[in-house]
């Protein structure tokens, strides 16, 4: 069935070497929403995934998370951070056994702050649903994917950015 060009891969990369972050840049404003799929692993330990938009290092990010580690549930939030946390228990580790599916709504508008709805999954450590906010009205033109606590993305980690067009 032809779905039309409404779910379009903007860019994808598989890391050929270890690196501390990866940035999608020059994201066009021609879509309505973005979907970022992360299937990555880290070199040494388990850390959260985090995002940064347009290179903004100000304390302009917040998030709320609902999470489970398999035995207990939890909720939490982070205010006025300089990155947007994505994970809590569904962290990245030294295997490819986890994933993040991140929806960024209305990313190109220039009148509202930007909201993110994401799911993080690691069947060994936990599962998260996360809502994030970037308090900036700029259109998102770049996304940097970080691993917290100076974690390093390992070779073979894959990041794919899709554009969703409303029409």
């Amino acid at each position: 069935m032809a779905a039309g060009a409404t779910y379009t891969p903007i860019a994808t990369t598989t890391l050929g070497s270890n690196q501390t972050s990866y940035t999608f840049s020059s994201i066009p404003s021609t879509y309505t929403d973005l979907v970022l799929v992360v299937t990555g692993k880290l070199t040494t330990s388990a850390y959260d995934t985090a995002l940064r938009f347009n290179g903004d290092t100000g304390s302009n990010y917040s998030r709320m998370v609902l999470t489970s580690d398999g035995s207990t549930v939890g909720a939490g939030r982070s205010n006025s951070t300089n990155i947007m946390y994505i994970d809590a228990n569904g962290v990245k580790d030294t295997t490819f056994n986890s994933n993040d599916i991140i929806n960024i709504m209305n990313y190109a508008n220039t009148t509202t702050y930007k909201t993110v709805l994401s799911r993080s999954n690691n069947a060994a450590t936990g599962v998260d649903v996360n809502v994030g906010m970037w308090r900036d009205t700029s259109a998102i033109t770049s996304i940097t994917i970080l691993a917290m606590s100076s974690g390093t993305w390992a070779t073979g980690s894959n990041f794919t950015l899709y554009g969703i067009a409303a029409a």
């Binding site: 779905a3 039309g4 398999g70 549930v73 295997t95 993080s120 999954n121």
Partner: protein
């Protein structure tokens, strides 16, 4: 422009019901798979759960979940299981005509790493039975490309998917 989000196949359960939904001969030409389910079971138990098997394998599944039943929020999980349990589903005890909804996303299903996946499931019915909204992190500890997916009720209770159950399998390409 290339079509990168494609319906691979779909099924709608007929009047006789069906014990399983099977997707076979899944091509490796996509990057990720997405399954959308709208289901109900013919049996009467409360708390039926889906069981999924990849490539007919009955080993290597693990999960962690978080779910709410309208009263409390709960956590759970399992490892070394024989099915991938991904969501709760309605039974004949539940309000008539109510079907649950589930999305299952499987990144890199044709790669050589173990297969991690993400599930969101909801089940509601405007009644007092245990309905549920849940999210699951799942893993199949197997490096084989996924070429078939079988969905059934995991406990082997003999219940069937009810008429009008639907299942859609989509392929997503990253280039």
């Amino acid at each position: 422009m290339a079509n990168t989000f494609e319906l691979i196949t779909s099924t709608t359960v007929g009047a006789g019901g069906s014990s399983s939904i099977d997707f076979t001969s899944i091509a490796s030409t996509y990057t990720d798979l997405l399954i959308k389910l709208s289901t109900r079971q013919t049996g009467s138990a409360v708390g039926y759960q889906f069981g999924i098997r990849f490539n007919g394998s009955s080993s290597g599944y693990s999960r962690i979940l978080l779910y709410g039943d309208g009263v409390a929020v709960n956590a759970g999980g399992g490892s070394a299981e024989t099915f991938a349990r991904i969501a709760f589903t309605q039974s004949s005890t539940y309000t008539a005509n109510t079907f649950n909804n589930v999305e299952l996303y499987i990144p890199n299903y044709a790669g050589s790493a173990y297969k991690s996946f993400s599930t969101d499931g909801v089940s509601e019915g405007n009644a007092t039975q245990i309905y549920s909204a849940g999210i699951y992190a799942g893993l199949w500890s197997n490096t084989a490309a996924i070429t078939s997916i079988s969905i059934s009720e995991y406990s082997g209770s003999g219940t069937n998917f009810a008429q009008y159950t639907t299942a859609y399998l989509y392929g997503v390409k990253n280039a």
